[in-house]
Amino acid sequence: MTGDQPLLSVRDLAVEFGRGTRVSRPVDGVGFEVGEREIVGIVGESGCGKSLTLLALLGLLPSGGRVVNGSITFGGRDLRGADPSVLRSLRGRQVALIPSDAGAALNPVARVGKQLRLSLRTHHPDLTAQQRRGRALDALRRARLARPEQALAAYPHELSGGMQQRSAIALGLQNEPRLLLADEPTTALDVSIQAEILRLLVQLRDELGTAIVFVTHDISTVREICDRVVVMYAGQVVEQGGVEDVLTSPRHPYTAALLGSIPPLGGVPPEQLETVPGMPPDPAAWPGGCRFQARCRRFTELGEPDECTSTWPGSADGLALGAACHFPLEGVRR
């Protein structure tokens, strides 16, 4: 990243749900930065808080959820304390969300063209109907839909999964946002279509300069498109850094375990894949110290050192590069 201020800066973000004795904190001290034109991946298993982090940025937490700590700065503006009307004017215009299941995110009873035009009318009331149609068509073309005119007139169910996802991307892109938040945009898709959508995201960044936050549970897709990666576990950032660094020589035992659980392609397959034993902890009762400790092989190997159970090894704002681990792995090249 350059010396300039990053486009998006998140520090020590915490999100809580529930009241009284049943308070849970599924996001707890998350920090990361996204520079202009940068693609940053957030990886973790279900329940690690990655999607909630994304929704918190947009002020779109599900009901009962609230940001209780930290700061969110976008383009020099504070979003956490921002008025809902300010957030509304940013959403879709400067920051857009691409959902994981486009089929469910699009309105099933409105043609794709109508949905695109509606968003344009909201953000650019001065455009004529003719201009709106032109812009919508352009957006579909940019999302590489094979026959944009037909897609414009189609209802979502008439499109294939890949085309629905492209329509959702067009919807996100047509106002030329500065930041695109993509929540598992390829998990509902086939491998071959997944590869195309990933390539499309990189192309769009190259053409339009849009920065992208890419949330996924599949660490192998991160390698394909991201510049930097943030690994989350139990509501915290356990490791972050450049994609090459983190994926070729992971320092945190959890990152290493995630990578090890991917079946290798080629050679003689191993008898067993590496797995992480046990289950992630409950967000209503996070354990003290390192949250991964109970499942960490390194903790056992090192004779269960006290630090691991007593002190959280990460930085206060969650922003530090490298691994949040008392005993990080050294130079293990995968």
Binding site: R144, S192, L198, P263, P264, L273
Partner: protein, 352 residues
Amino acid sequence: MTEPLLSIERVSHEFGARRALLPGRRTHLAVDDVSLTIGAGESVALVGESGSGKTTLGRVVAKLITPTAGRVLVDGRDVGALSGRELLAYRRTVQMIFQNTQHAFNPRRRIRDILADPYEIHGLPAPDGRDAALGELLERVGLHASMLDRYPHQFSGGQRQRVGIARALSLGPRLIVADEPVSALDVSVQAQVLNLFARLRRELGLSLLFISHDLRAVYFLCERIAVLYQGRLVEVAPRERLLEHPLHPYSRRLIAAVPGLGERDSAEVSQAEAPGPAPAPGVAAESPAAAAGCHYASRCPLYARLGAPERCRAERPALRPAAGGSAVACHFATEGEEPGANVSSVVSEEVG
């Protein structure tokens, strides 16, 4: 070679075929003249994109649907002719595991009752009391016998899939048809379930028909890989062979699409390999029934490179044997010229 456990012989399945004579009805040929065998103890993968017919073929094998043409043999006996007692025996031989674990169980029944069903239906007394048998089943798939009284929603996705596997194992099947059993799971949980499959295969000598679009999972678990494209088999090969020397242009494309952890330039390879944005399945592509020739031709980079040979449009390529135990359905695929060579070099680096 001894007789295979399962032979699929020229099976086709056309949805809507029975009503095809009514005006305005359209049929869909989901599986188109597929032949495949699985040996005892062998694990074979069916790969392909959605709409390739892999699930339909799996359901045909599990006899959940009757194919509109062709037949399925188990131990040399035609499955289509079975009824009554013999059909029940067949169901004990072949069991199915489903992708969506939330919908695969009745949410209002306890695991105990769900697992007891197969015994009830087949009128089998459990050896030493039913409870002991059910508990043992759960333990075999890595769960605790104490979980018998839980409901499906009280399990995580990975645990529910284990229950699905336990249910399939209860009658001592010889072949399991698993339809995308891990694709809905987190990567780390996927690894646990894949390990379970590998262990059960070793311990019980199970045969497996593993349906997936995830080549990595398939490579880990299956000795042979069958590639389906729009209902037709385009290549069948031993896993190493398919990965290192994919013959069919579509197989190459599938392999290039696997998200890599190897060198970044694998992205370039997939770019070179893919001829622009592909038409979405079922929308732009011609229906296989209408195409007399090779149904992949319109997307095929080899076809384009060879200057659109007439033969690809006129004649349907048959699955023909090739080197190294592969079989490929392509008029022109040879091992000699190989854009796939790049792919395999990237892949082997990643292994090293």
